[in-house]
């Protein structure tokens, strides 16, 4: 049996949608027995949400005020302890997981496979390298613990409706005091989360100003979509950096991606090529974005956005 431990990411009492995608990935491993570890101050609601994911056999809840806000240096030794008896330890390839999992791997003396995009067996995985310009197939030795991060854009969320038991566990682990959380400038809104949204509307440099970027927000609101931006738009100050889509920003796989005024630099295309349907709107008919778009529309975005809204 392959015993897989998945580290749950959560914020403000809510389980991150990436966790259900990690479960889907883990379930692709033959003969998988999946546990989810919730390390939180309280974590009752998070553990209940994790227990409802189909495919999860048990949820381990470790309650400690030091666990929130999440700090890799504090969580890693606890996860290393929980990892005993598990063949695989998985985390999402979000900034939370990217920060945390290598620290866990080093404590375990285990190798890590980053950004798993496909599972071929319990020891064989596919992952993107060179900014997605090549796909590597990596083999880990059998019988040795393995740490991995899961590229969430590559997996659908596992279904809900499960009812795994939640087991509280106390850990006698020395936690470091050398790292202190100060603040987070979370741009909270009712808008869908960029990384898990079914629809995303992104704006590029052609918007021309921060004020004009409101056009993207308006269309996104009409579509119930999350907002994204190209690196050029972020660098120009039209949108905050957490909205950046692309290799150096967020890699996403929505059902519908609408790129407006984005020419389609390689690093942007890397971030969206798993989207189900891509729509491109650009005044330059030669823009590279049209090479990968399912639907292309050449024209001036300032007149086309209102026309689209009128037709919706």
């Amino acid at each position: 049996m392959n015993r897989i431990l998945i580290v749950a990411e959560h914020l403000d009492g809510k389980l991150n949608a990436a966790v259900a995608k990690c479960v889907h990935c883990a379930a692709a491993i033959p003969d998988a027995d999946i546990s989810v570890a919730v390390l939180a101050a309280d974590g009752t609601a998070v553990a209940a949400a994790a227990a409802a994911i189909t495919g999860v056999s048990r949820v381990v809840l470790v309650q400690n005020p030091a666990n929130e806000p999440a700090l890799a240096a504090v969580l890693a030794p606890q996860i290393a302890r929980l990892a005993a008896g598990h063949s695989h330890v998985f985390g999402p390839s979000t900034t939370f997981g990217k920060d945390l999992m290598p620290r866990v791997a080093a404590l375990l003396g285990a190798p890590q496979v980053s950004d798993v995009m496909a599972v071929e067996s319990a020891t064989r995985f596919r992952r993107p390298v060179y900014a997605g310009n090549a796909i590597a197939t990596v083999e880990a030795p059998a019988g040795r613990q393995l740490v991995a991060t899961v590229r969430v854009a590559s997996f659908q969320a596992a279904a809900g409706g499960g009812s795994a038991p939640v087991e509280k566990q106390a850990l006698d682990v020395a936690l470091p005091s050398h790292t202190r959380f100060v603040s987070v400038s979370a741009a909270r809104s009712d808008r869908p989360d960029l990384q898990t949204a079914a629809r995303v509307v992104s704006g590029g440099r052609a918007l021309g100003s921060k004020e004009n970027f409101a056009l993207i927000q308006r269309l996104a609101d009409r579509l119930g979509a999350a907002i994204g931006a190209s690196r050029a738009a972020v660098d120009a100050g039209y949108a905050p950096n957490e909205l950046q889509v692309g290799q150096t920003g967020k890699i996403i796989a929505p059902e519908l991606y609408v790129a407006i005024g984005i020419s389609g630099a390689i690093q942007h295309l890397t971030g969206i090529k798993d989207a189900r349907t891509i729509v491109a709107i650009n005044k330059d008919a030669e823009a590279p974005i049209f090479e990968i778009a399912d639907y292309g529309l050449v024209g001036d975005l300032f007149s086309l956005i209102p026309e689209i809204e009128k037709n919706l």
Binding site: L11, A72, A73, A76, T94, T95, K98, D99, M101, P102, R103, A105, A106, P111, Q112, S114, D115, R124, V129, Y130, A131, N133, A134, I135, A136, T137, V138, E139, P176, T179, R180, F181, V182, S183, V184, S185, A186, A187, Q195, R199, L223, P240, N241, E242, T248, E255, L256, K273, T277, F290, E291, A293, D294, Y295, G296, L297, L304, E307, I308, N311
Partner: protein, 249 residues
């Protein structure tokens, strides 16, 4: 000596269009331009600025790789680093092995700060900094977009999915850089001449006595699947109609 250690990796230049070799054993590197990993260049720039503000005395750049990495270390010296160390090996190493080798140098050099790029743009692993911090039993501050040193601590603004997070860690510590931390300076010709005289120590990897046995095997490399070009629509009405037909709006 108040010292900062900066990691430098030799990678295919970020402007090169990477192609997979037809036999699937790797990517084409013959005649391809090699450079300092861009995130490492940002790490070095940050270290130089800290020294220029008087908060550090010496910048040591460290690379683990083949003899060819001396070129990138010379470029780092030309940018302004004081001396360089190459841990020489012809073996391709995994992040765990790199972190162990770096730890051996960290214990020798005793830096108050280690700055690395958040990831290398070849294997895209994003592991080495965090692993080094764990093995060193010191704090980590990854994906930094701002570093402020004060009172034996460093306050780091981190680019996280939610926005910008600020944490404060005690020194010594490992920081890894994100894109927006700074814009690296250009190298000037006289600096290239000066860099030739700066010390560059070459240490054989075997001399460090660390376990670098490979654990993972890369079986093959393949080009990614390509998306097909779709259709061009004539106006907004046709676009919305097409999306509606597919149930997307």
């Amino acid at each position: 000596m108040q010292r900062i250690l900066v990691g430098i990796k030799r990678v295919i230049d970020y402007n090169v269009r990477v192609r997979v070799r037809p036999d699937g054993t790797g990517v084409v590197t013959d005649g391809v331009k090699m450079s300092i990993n861009p995130f490492d260049e940002i790490a070095l720039e940050e270290a130089l600025r800290i020294r220029e503000r008087g908060a550090a005395e010496e910048i040591v750049v460290l690379s683990v790789g083949t003899d060819d990495a001396q070129q990138q270390l010379r470029n780092a010296l030309a940018m302004g680093a004081d001396r360089a160390i190459l841990i020489k090996t012809d073996q391709a190493l995994e992040p765990t092995a790199i972190a162990r080798a770096m730890l051996a140098i960290v214990q020798r050099e005793k830096p108050f700060l280690v700055i690395l790029g958040k990831q290398a743009i070849d294997d895209d692993c994003n592991q080495t900094g965090q692993m080094l911090a764990a093995l060193w039993e010191r704090p980590q501050a990854t994906f930094a977009s701002k570093l402020e040193l004060a009172d034996g601590k460093v306050r780091v603004t981190r680019e996280v999915d939610a926005g910008l997070e600020v944490i404060e860690v005690e020194l010594p510590a490992v920081c890894t850089t994100d894109l927006r931390l700074n814009e690296p300076r250009y190298i000037k010709l006289p600096d290239i001449m000066k860099a030739k005289k700066k010390p560059l120590d070459v240490i054989e990897l075997a001399a460090l006595g660390v376990d670098v046995t490979p654990v993972l095997t890369t079986l093959k490399y393949e080009p990614p699947p390509q998306r097909q070009k779709g259709v061009m629509v004539k106006d907004a009405a046709e676009l919305v109609a097409a999306l509606r037909q597919k149930g997307l709006v």
